[in-house]
Subunit: 225 residues, 2 copies
């Protein structure tokens, strides 16, 4: 299933670049773009990595932070490079899990980029290979309770959908649903202390749109210092 996700993104590179750059995704332009920028800025990082950076908008938005962007889809990395604002690399989550990044940044960001199952656990396990001791991992994801829909509130694969996106999108990728409890366990189970949760609220519905979790590597400082 994790590989189906990548296959889908290879096919949807072009519509994705225009959807993001033309501001077609309302929840992003209205709420979640600013929310992730605010969450990262509040940590005052000097350096960072955007994991699953896509076409690179967040790297560009974090001007003043020495940013690296990583994505597995070459077409997205190419689009990001052309727009600039940081260093960009093509790399899979599996390669990151194998310590291939070899960085030591202040903050790592996964902005709606954790769609898989095992591949996500691998990223968390590898945090000490790209984060400084004391560095933070910031994850934004759909709010589990509101995103659950009619299905039972349990972890598991869900069918994807491009509902609300333009007609250029094909073959929606499957995604792995995680409860709030499971998101928290991804942090605490991999040596990351949960520091903060944010719940950006939609201005019209008054309900939480997304969940931002901030964890830090403090707990294993001695081990990796």
């Amino acid at each position: 299933m994790d590989t189906d996700i990548i296959r889908s993104w290879h096919k949807n590179t072009a519509p994705w670049v225009s959807a993001v750059r033309d501001g077609e995704i309302e929840s992003r332009t209205l709420v979640t773009n600013q929310a992730i920028v605010d969450a990262v800025r509040s940590l005052a990082p000097a350096s960072g990595i955007d994991i699953g950076c896509g076409e690179g908008w967040l790297v560009r938005a974090l001007d003043g932070v020495a940013m690296t962007g990583v994505d597995v889809v070459p077409g997205l990395v190419e689009a990001a490079r052309q727009a600039g604002g940081g260093d960009f690399r093509t790399m899979s989550y599996e390669e990151i899990a194998q310590a291939r990044l070899d960085l030591a940044v202040d903050v790592a960001i996964c902005n709606f980029s954790l769609l898989g199952d095992e591949s996500v656990a691998g990223l968390f396990r590898a945090a000490p290979t790209y984060l400084k001791p004391g560095g933070a991992l910031v994850v934004q994801t759909m709010h589990p309770v509101t995103a659950c829909g009619d299905a039972p509130y349990v972890d598991g694969w869900r069918e994807g959908s491009w509902a609300g996106f333009n007609e250029g999108f094909v073959d929606p990728p499957p995604w792995y649903f995680r409860t709030l409890a499971s998101w928290v366990r991804l942090f605490t189970g991999h040596g990351l202390q949960l520091r903060e949760i944010r719940e950006p609220v939609h201005p019209r519905t008054g309900k939480p749109v997304s969940l931002i979790l901030v964890g830090s590597l403090d707990g294993v400082r001695e081990k990796y210092a």
Copy 2:
């Protein structure tokens, strides 16, 4: 508003004792009673305190753990004492906040007993005066996202309701709604590391009924050891 809550509980002591002891509250008998017992047992504590213990069922359920129960309502403490299973004291959250407990237990439990605003913050601030260094605070509360109802998802006072309870109940207490982000901040903002979140699910609806947060005092071990 915090005092309105206590006033209401003084009036509802008798119906509350029977509602709990006769198993009238379905979400409790079906889901949340066992969930809090499991969460506490998973920590294997030797000693504990139940803050806002009511008529004392949880103290009795945690047999084998040296338990103290505390409640501000004398009628509830009296009912708890008669049923036994631990030590019981009549004390307000304000008195606990003033370090009047003077205990050092392995686990403190607040099971649906954090209904107020300032009084709750005081309890968290005082955690080092009743918990051992490394001790855990376990809170069960209604799941914020599902309990929010039609109101905006922001902290604030809400009107109480006895809907679903028997006709003996009067003057429902107001309660202070907290978002998930605010619950987490109560822990992290008072020197408690968030260790775990549990989301007990209703067997019929498949949706989370409650939220259990487990924090520990590890972060301030040096200070209070």
